[in-house]
Amino acid sequence: MRVQLDSTPRPAFVRSRLRAAACVLLAAGVPAAARADDAAPKYQLDASGLLYGEQGRANVVEPVAKLTRLFDNGASLGGQFTLDVITGASPTGARPTTSIQTITNASGTSSTVQANQLPVTAFHDRRMAGDIDWTQPVGALFNATSSAHASVEKDYSSLGAGETFSLDTFHRLITWSLGGSYSHDLVFPVGGTPVGLTAGGAFTGVARNPKDVTSVMAGVSRILSRQWMVALNATSIYERGYLTEPYKVVSILDPVSQNPTSFLTENRPTRRSRYNITASSVYHLTPDVLYASYRYYWDDWQLGSHTLDLRFRHELGNDSFLQPHFRFYTQSAAKFFTLGLIQGAPLPDFASSDQRLSHFNSVTLGLTYGFKPHGYPGEWTIRAEYIAQFQKVNLGPTEGTDGAPVQTAPDAFPLLNIGTLTAGYSLSF
């Protein structure tokens, strides 16, 4: 229920800069940023601010600042701090109905929801995260990046580390990467950990629930021509531990009217294996650049997705550019996703009505404007994006108690509209 926007360490940030540097240096390297009139820059400052709004629901403000120290031999050390302030309301997973309903949430507290309105719960949270990454070139062709992160919020904490290696081969035409990371998270729900698939008020007594996430990534990138480079990455992520959303509920539906009569806390498996394969392409159209990527994702909760992402950087001259962005995403539901459990039917082991596990499509339209104000240091970007999630939810005929099919209304869950505004600033000194 929280619109959490997390900040994760990005070792690839610095690594990709070094990898893209087409110059080979004997024994020691110079970062790609070294193009100033003076000596090579020693520091890089990157800052960004995000304003995020969901219609009628969450609002997030997220400033991020990162400082990187660049060394002559191509090594770099970076530290990043992120602050997430979230206010708003998030859906509980309960279905809207044609009449006023009283909802008892996972902690046993009751609230009233108007007719035809999606039940939500208000929240306010603040999250802080810190990331460190260190990149060390070994020889002219090999790079090692180590990273660590820590984050904490009202009901969640995370501590993790990762390592990525990259190797340039064939005169830097082909670059191989291999990486791994591990994160130990703790979920400590406000009010206690509810027992899954029970009517609110029952708690497990466990205050802090661990969740371990291990991931492995392998990738290869290749320069195909003077203008074109492509890459293929594959990632496996294993999650073990407490994976349930403690504040979300699943409706129990009356078999005849399909109206929710009561609620149960949701329950998800304690393991999840997730995979994705991403193909990316960067093509220089002198002077514009086209970025395209396609990701195929699947996991053992039977959730699968396809993502197509296109960006076109159009140079306007004077070091400024306009970059429209289009993203299309389609997701198929997790096997235990349900819009409601029929009263009287045997309880499944796992059930969730979290819309994020459902079957939906999403389209993003965005525009970035980048510029360097004349006479002032640094580069700026301003970006506005609009994300629309839509799904046709038709429950289809279900069987009533007498065995006859019962048609139910479509669009049980409404459209989701998200608007974001991101400002970015980058300075080398």
Binding site: A21, A22, C23, L25, L26, A27, A32, A34, D72, A218
Partner: protein
């Protein structure tokens, strides 16, 4: 999952083997060239009898910026003792090269090879690459890349060759 891992391993093993002649810059007699320079033309043949440092560079190459001050210092101290520096530019656009030269005024000869033909003859493997050519026209040393902290070997060789 096992099949996924196998796929990864297969990918890593599927790398091609490099061809035999790739990866070795030119050696032996330095390939001849005649190229347009900032003023007039420059031909390697006409430099026989002098120690020639041929440097392949481009405006977009970060280490190249740091190599120019070093080459200027070499030129100033050794031009009178037989050193000739020819910096061959490989930019596709002359304007980019000119902008670079305006910022790093060279004391030495700068020639232009936008099609990369001479770079091909010298089998340049990295940007920048320097070749030290002896008075007899033979390549004595190939120095790929540039790091201001690692110029001892090439500088010592040039100084040795330039002593009368």
């Amino acid at each position: 999952m096992k099949r996924f891992t196998l796929g990864m391993i297969f990918m890593l093993l599927a790398a091609p083997s490099p061809s035999a002649s790739a990866g070795k810059p030119a050696a032996g007699a330095a390939p001849a060239f005649r190229l347009p320079a900032v003023h007039g033309t420059v031909a390697l043949d006409s430099l026989r009898g002098r120690v020639v440092l041929v440097d392949f560079w481009a405006s977009w190459c970060a280490p190249c910026e740091r190599s120019f001050p070093w080459m200027n210092a070499l030129h100033d101290s050794l031009a009178g003792r037989g050193l000739e520096i020819v910096a061959i530019n490989l930019d596709k656009e002359r304007s980019a090269a000119d902008a670079f030269l305006a910022k790093h005024a060279p004391h030495f000869v700068v020639a232009f090879d936008p099609a990369g033909e001479i770079a091909e003859d010298y089998r340049v493997m990295a940007m920048p690459t320097s070749y030290v050519i002896g008075r007899d026209g033979k390549i004595l040393l190939t120095h790929p890349g540039f790091d201001p902290k690692k110029t001892d070997e090439i500088e010592a060789l040039i100084r040795r060759e330039c002593s009368p």
